[in-house]
């Protein structure tokens, strides 16, 4: 009998070699902790207990939490779109003075640490707007979420709007369509992928928001994410936390999938991007909404800044820098173990480490998922890798942080006292954003350029220098800034991992607002301002680099 030869399939060795390091890192520092955390829930006493998990999902409180998460995220997403779309139009299609400055300013809320957003809104709602009875209500939470996410809509939809070919709209106008009809029948269908994509990302951020809900919702309103935190830290109900984590992971994966399907396909050559035109009287509604949005974004920040510069004296309060000077102390009533300035210093160091880690990993990931594929097996592996590296975006930072705590404390990986624990966690949180910034840039390089360079006699190194580096250095710098801003403000995972004696600034702020005493609160405001200024400056520098796509933005 003749032996049948199996078709020889080329295994994607090179691709796997390139991806090996990030895969290993993700396996140890992401899959292991998450699996460990979830495992604790499913096997509380060493044997499987699925019934217990299902019981958790039947609890009335869990239903309330789920319902609150869904409706508050839905309302916040709708409000974000309503405010963001007119602003996207105004800032990307109209020729206004200071357009770039306003665009950059509206980007700042997105990179503000969530704790700072919470503190700023509380300061606004208990201070200048205390006559509005919305402090501690869902409205406050939703306002915080909108504030945080509006930049996503402006950036994502604005970029699509800006590069939208003007000619279909002109063709419709020439056929007799008025401005509103043109918008409804031509512009909106063309923008739909960008709008739906932005909306799904915003919903995702709202539904997994931790710092904003925790600082503004207190104990009365909890989302799935804060509930996981509460169950693990205060109630030690790991089973409940694991069940909720799994539920959240499932929903997020579905949302990410939808988002990926709808991600606008960037045609690298928009043949006729329109010139921004001067505003007309008909643009008044959009201009008014944009102005309102600016006021909405500026108000909490202004309240935060003013609050940090006022100290109580006698009956009233006066201007002073005392709150900033107090940052060198440990606060009243022993709120802190180390001065806040030490925390700032530590935050910056950790953020630098985390940024470097995220960059190296992100670059390897981006290179491996944009590699030219030669076979179907290779394409499949590449697709799987791409999805795998996006997972950290979907898993709650709280789950990740807690998983670190319970799995990385014994051999083979014992990092309990390692200074690398927090940077690694933060790098993982920042990784998807870095990858999403680098991949479009790398993917946009026409492979024929490399082939052309090769045919002219350039070796691999020379090809990279000539073709890839000139395209990549801006996105690389931008994603470094982005990763830095995210790390400096990271709260969800860090709140588990940072110890009292080496807390980062966001953790310190949260601790300060939890302790009684006007001095502590003043310190929290001052520290928030410092943190906000740090991330804002980094982001404004990034904005100067004018990278077309920033992470999910």
């Amino acid at each position: 009998m003749e032996r049948r030869h199996l078709p020889l399939r080329r295994f994607p060795v090179a691709l796997l070699a390139l991806a090996a390091v990030p895969v290993a890192v993700l396996a140890v520092f992401f899959v292991l902790p998450v699996v460990g955390m979830v495992g604790r829930g499913f096997r509380p006493e060493g044997h499987w207990d699925l019934g217990g998990v299902l019981d958790v999902l039947a609890r009335p409180r869990v239903h309330r939490v789920l319902w609150f998460t869904v409706w508050s995220s839905t309302v916040a997403t709708a409000a974000t779109l309503l405010l963001g779309l007119p602003a996207a139009y105004v800032l990307h299609r109209l020729d206004l003075p200071l357009r770039r400055v306003v665009r950059a300013a509206l980007l700042v809320p997105f990179v503000l640490p969530t704790v700072v957003v919470g503190v700023a809104f509380r300061q606004l709602l208990t201070g200048p707007l205390s006559w509005l009875p919305i402090d501690g209500t869902p409205i406050a939470i939703i306002a915080g979420l909108v504030f945080f996410n509006v930049a996503v809509v402006i950036r994502a939809v604005g970029a699509a709007w800006e590069s939208l070919d003007a000619r279909p709209a002109e063709a419709a106008a020439a056929l007799g369509a008025g401005p509103w009809t043109v918008f409804r029948t031509v512009t909106l269908p063309a923008l739909r992928p960008a709008i739906v994509g932005a909306a799904s990302v915003v919903f995702l951020f709202c539904a997994t928001s931790f710092g904003v809900v925790l600082t503004l919702g207190g104990l009365r309103y909890a989302s799935v994410e804060t509930e996981i935190y509460l169950l693990t830290t205060d109630l030690l109900d790991l089973q409940g936390a694991a069940a909720l984590s799994l539920l959240q992971l499932g929903v997020v994966v579905v949302l990410l999938f939808i988002g990926a399907r709808l991600r606008p396909i960037r045609t690298s050559t928009s043949r006729q991007p329109p010139r921004p035109r001067r505003p007309r009287p008909a643009d008044a509604p959009q201009l008014i909404v944009t102005a309102l949005l600016l006021a909405f974004v500026a108000a909490p920040l202004a309240a935060l800044l003013v609050g940090s510069l006022r100290v109580a004296s006698g009956g009233g309060d006066r201007w002073s820098l005392a709150n900033y000077r107090a940052l060198t102390s440990t606060g009243s009533h022993q709120a802190l173990l180390e001065p806040a300035t030490t925390a700032l210093d530590l935050s910056l160091r950790i953020a630098v480490d985390a940024t470097l880690l995220a960059l190296v990993l992100g670059l390897l990931v981006a290179l491996s998922v944009t590699r030219r594929t030669h076979s179907r097996a290779e394409r499949r592996v590449r697709g799987l890798l791409d999805a795998f590296f996006m997972l950290p975006l979907g898993v709650s930072a709280v789950t990740l942080g807690f998983g670190f705590l319970i799995t990385l404390d014994r051999p083979p990986v014992d990092l309990r006292d390692s200074p690398w624990l927090v940077p690694i966690a933060q790098a993982l949180v920042a990784l998807p954003l870095v990858v999403r910034t680098l991949v479009p840039a790398l993917g946009g390089i026409d492979d024929r350029q490399r082939q052309a360079a090769a045919s002219l006699g350039a070796g691999p190194l020379r090809r990279t220098l000539v073709v890839d580096v000139p395209v990549l250095w801006r996105p690389l710098l931008a994603s470094a800034g982005f990763a830095f801003a995210v790390s400096v403000g990271e709260f969800g995972a860090t709140s588990f991992l940072a110890r009292d004696e080496n807390a980062t600034l966001p953790v310190v702020i949260f601790r300060l607002i939890g302790h009684p005493g006007p001095m502590n609160y003043g310190m929290a405001l001052a520290a928030s301002c410092v943190l906000a200024a740090t991330t804002a400056v980094v982001m404004l520098v990034v904005e100067r680099l004018r990278v077309p796509s920033l992470g999910v933005l």
Partner: protein, 330 residues
């Protein structure tokens, strides 16, 4: 029912794209605006459509159109690549302007079928633009533009995106459709053959200025200046002694020194021709033999011979000049 442009200028950031154009287009005529790419001809078209801010005045029937937005002008604009709406079917694309005018459903359907038949695309209604070839897409765009029953149809390089054979066929179709519908049209193109095939009148634009305007035959016979002559397909422009020699050979009387535009086929190999020269090169084409001849008193110049003869380089030949293929340029 006349379009008239008076002293129209368009500038981008201070740089003039169109300067001081005067133009009239009578009812029912097709005018081709011909110019090399970058000459500002598309800008002129967009200005007429109301898509560019202008200085000067554009009027329809004596009424100034300043302040009338694009969608209220009643002109239809057809883009170089059609600009069909990708999310609508062919029928829905053609029906788009009819819906805007609230034409009843039954009437709308009838009109769409009629228009698709006019452009030779019966039964294409349910297809999506993406599934059509380039030529089919342009036909749909034309049907959509005609659905407006426009007072004036503006066509921006309607055939340039197509390959040569299709372009030729569609050009004669376009001519037929426009005359059948009695549409006043303004066509912008860089291709002189397209202009000749479709238009009644010709306006030549160069560097933002209107150089010459008139009936197609007239412009073609008498180009206003040497550059226009070259752009209209004349092979060379002769001056001085060379021009005088060829003029004398063709029997053209001139009052003094002139420039003479000659087409490639102006000089023809003839036993008893008045000119003599030495063949520099010869290249056979299916219809004729194309020569370059060094003619005494003229220099190197193109000539043709019927495909029967094939003179080789270095051979002495005699040539005559065809009066209809020459043009004296002022």
């Amino acid at each position: 029912m006349t379009l008239s442009l008076r002293d129209v200028s368009v500038s981008y950031d201070g740089a003039a794209a169109i300067s001081q154009v005067d133009l009239d287009l009578p009812d029912g005529q097709v005018l081709a605006v011909l110019g090399p790419s970058g000459s500002g001809k598309s800008t002129l078209l967009r200005a007429i459509a109301g898509l560019e801010p202008i200085a000067g005045s554009i009027a329809w029937d004596g009424t100034d159109l300043a302040g009338v937005p694009t969608h209220k002008r009643g002109f239809a604009l057809m883009f170089q690549d059609g600009q069909l709406f990708g999310h609508l079917t062919v029928a829905a694309n053609v029906a788009y302007p009819l819906r805007l005018r609230r034409v009843a459903r039954a009437e709308r359907r009838r009109r769409v079928e009629e228009l698709l038949a006019l452009v030779g695309l019966e039964g294409y209604g349910r297809r999506l633009p993406l599934t059509l070839s380039g030529g089919e897409r342009q036909r749909v765009a034309l049907a959509r533009a005609l659905a407006v029953e426009p007072k004036l149809l503006l066509l921006d390089e309607p055939l340039s995106a197509l390959d040569a054979g299709l372009r030729e066929r569609l050009a004669s179709d376009l001519r037929r459709i426009l005359t059948e519908a009695g549409t006043t049209a303004l066509l912008v193109t860089h291709d002189q053959e397209e202009a000749f095939a479709v238009a009644d009148r010709l306006a030549v634009v160069r560097a933002g200025r209107l150089v010459q305007e008139g009936p197609v035959g007239e412009v073609w016979r008498a180009p206003a200046d040497p550059e226009t002559a070259l752009f209209l397909g004349y092979a060379r422009v002769l001056t001085g002694e060379a021009a005088a020699t060829v003029c004398a050979a063709a029997g053209v009387r001139t009052g003094g020194p002139v420039a003479l535009a000659v087409r490639r086929s102006a000089l023809v190999l003839a036993e008893d021709g008045p000119l003599s020269g030495v063949v520099v090169s010869a290249r056979a084409t299916p219809d004729q033999v194309r020569l370059v001849v060094d003619v005494h008193g003229v220099g190197q110049i193109d000539a043709v011979a019927s495909s029967g003869v094939h003179p080789g380089p270095g051979e002495r030949v005699r040539l005559r000049a065809e009066q209809t293929r020459l043009s004296v340029v002022p």
